[in-house]
Amino acid sequence: MARKRGRGVAACWYGIARTATVDRAGAWAEIDDGGTAKIVTGVTEIGEGILTVLAQIAAHEIGVRPQDVTIGDNDTARSPEAAHAGATRQTYMIGNAVALASRQARAALVEVLARYWNVDSRTIKTAAGEVWAEGTNHKMPMSEAVHIAKSRGVVPVGSASFGTDTTGLDPVDGSGRPWQAYVFGCQVAEVEVDTLTGEVQVLGIWAVHDVGRAVNPRGVEGQIEGGIVQALGQGLMEDYRTVNGHAATPNLAKYILPTSLDVPHVTSVILEDPDPIGPLGVKGIGEPAMIPTIPAIMNAIYDAIGVRMTSLPATPEKVLEAMGRRARAARQPVAAE
């Protein structure tokens, strides 16, 4: 049989936000005219969907709808500092900062309305663009509530900084508290190896990742699927090479990337083990998603054809070479006898 199948498993862990240093992020929130909300923070979309996540968080906390939320541009001269877009920190750091700022803006509005209606502020509810006081007939659209607040001299705004309680590492034994939130995950890969050409196809990946709390489950899946395919690229084909410092793979004809024909079916399972520290319970997914994929594939290759791929990428040439080595090794003891 020229084509052989196998399965492998691998797990991972990862720390959320900046490593071994105090991380912090700022955000401003305003409940604006027309019952909309304005969120300003110094970080923005790099493709992962953070704008939508922040709009959902602000909408949820303030009581409007995500499409009513405007996220300001990320501009060092116009927005509060929120550090960088990386380190699987956006949902955790900025998301929590936006939640705190939104809660403050909402509290400012609620306080005005409590006086206006002469009710206990704890009875006031907000959702999807409406404000009401429970147990009364008081109810109005958010747009009217904002108008009332402003005419009484209150702009319903909030600002917050979310920071981590973390430390550097000891220079001798490495002890320290590099992150306050950790995530865990595990993946199984199923591959088919063509023993004549050495080509490996990944047919399925089952991926389970703890994200704390999923703000947008479809977005989380998108991160898992995208991470897996990037890892597949590194595992099987991508190889930036230099010869005496000169790039030997300077373009996309020579530097091979996964295409639509290379990708497995991905089954994602989202686990939620809420972060006990942050206000939302969220953690993150961007980076951990790709960690188990490569070892799971390599372990699956071993399952299929009995060779250990310990040097990446497992290109067809390297797989054939490893198979050849294994075949020779299997013959040798016999020859010696």
């Binding site: 991972c12 939508t52 929120a82 550090a83 595990c186 090479r241």
Partner: protein
Amino acid sequence: MPELRIEATVNGRKVARAAKPHLRLLDFLRDDLGYTGAKEGCGAGECGTCSVFVDGVLLKSCLVPVAKAQGTTIETVEGLGHAGGLTVLQQAFHKAGASQCGYCIPGMVMAATAALRANPLASREEIKERLGGNICRCTGYQKIFDAVELARDVRNGRRPASALAEEDPVDGAFIGASVRRLDAPSKVSGALKYAGDMVMPHMLHLAVLRSPHAHARIVSIDTSEAEAVSGVEGVITAVDVPGIDGFGVFVHDQPIMARGKVRYVGEQVAAVASEDPLVARRALARIKVVYETLPAVFDAHEAMRPGAPVLHDYAPDNIVKHIPIRVGDVEKGFAESDLIVEEIYSTQQVEHAYLEPEAGLAYVDHDGVVTIVSPSQNITHHRHMLSRIIAQPISKVRFIMSPVGGGFGGKEDMVYQGMLALMAMKTRRPVRLVFTREESIITTAKRHPSHTTYKMGLMRDGRIRAAAIKLVSDGGAYGMSTEGVMRKAAILAAGPYSIPNVKIDTYGVYTNNTPSGAFRSFGALQSQFATETHLDICAEKLGLDPFAIRRINAMRDGAVTHTKQTLKSVSMLRALDATEQVSRWETGAPTSRGDVRRDLAGEGTRPPCTLGTRFANSAGKDSESEVA
């Protein structure tokens, strides 16, 4: 060369324009007509971001000379929907979450439109084949396939149009709802402007002269001839830096342009600005740089040996960073173990290959604020560094983050923003720089390659007694994120397992190779690749199922990490259980049992492919359905 006169119908409008004959259709559409939905991901026919219809045929416009546009009818992504609306397919991309950074998406929408035009009933496998010429670096393609299938089904009535609409959240809770991405309409329609799509009046284009040597002393740079070229508005080198030169994520060891010496091939040495990008590029050849080549080192282990060429004076041992982690006594742990397993693992340098090459636009505003618009992943830090480099207070430096067409860590380094700022300051005009794909690949950071020696001691029952892990990594010519990558690699190296004796050392090393930097999963991918492969080897030797060996050692609630931090809640066991269950895993030791296991080829796998066969099959089906 005389200009061509192009008359064509573009997105339903007649256009008649003079065009320079050396242009490609892509340039004509983007620069002359303003249809920036077509993107230049590679300029060489490899990525599909520039896809448009010419007389109904899907073409890569970066490969089409503008002369070929004469008399044709052209559709770009901007022309697909009517009156600014979205087509069913574009709505399906929105609904399915098929766009992430969005840079590939206009081309992907064009290719998917072509696929459904060619076969309105295309199967998922045929859709994959028809999208094979379009690369997406973000999504993993699955949601793109979902979107095309959704559009297909809505268009032929198998699913209702309401399947494209937003779903109401359960109990009005927006956290936990798969709300459609708010930025998706701008991405599927081609409306979103990335930095390379932006223009300003009076704008100049920047071109960069790069080092041909891996390691050389710069004896002299003479820019006078280049400056004299008609159309050249400015030339800059390291001498134009007014403040303290040097940037980097951890150590500020990299000058805006090479200062005194070059340390890798492709390093920026000088830059030229002109209104005409071609003039700027050609003027580069007129800059005279005299180099004296130096011995170079291309291997991390060699670079650590005494006597190796030194890249940076501050680091005579070429070590950027060494991170040690120590728990217990590994030698004692190995002595107590029933089984010792040793192995060596290596990983390669990897390119981020975001579809959007680096691009930026800089200007000095009316208040004298130096402003840089770019897809930077860290404008906060860039602002701080640039203020020192150009000797201006922070309030006079402004960074605006443009939409990022994929970053993955590769856009954390301030590699080109400094040049843009200097040229804007020197010329007092807006300046734009767009990297070619080659520039992006050969000059920007890569994922750190790694070489890991691994030794693990275990008890017969599968408990790990000790692990010694040494990872050496080539950081290339500049520090960039190497320090942080080594730290994360070390902290997470031994995996989510409780191990009483641990010795971990990671080393990031300078060499004259392309720099290594931040890349999604940041060192942890490299070190955990070793650990997770190693555990499989150990499981086989002990006759243990791979889930079982992980369960035996998994950290649990209250576990203490290798950096001696106590974790309150650890979801590791839950993750293992859920994976075993969802994958329908057949228990057994990893003894290369693929031939006999019975959990293969079930739900959650795709059919294996032999290139071309699905196409042939579905082509057959096409003609059948045409007959019917």
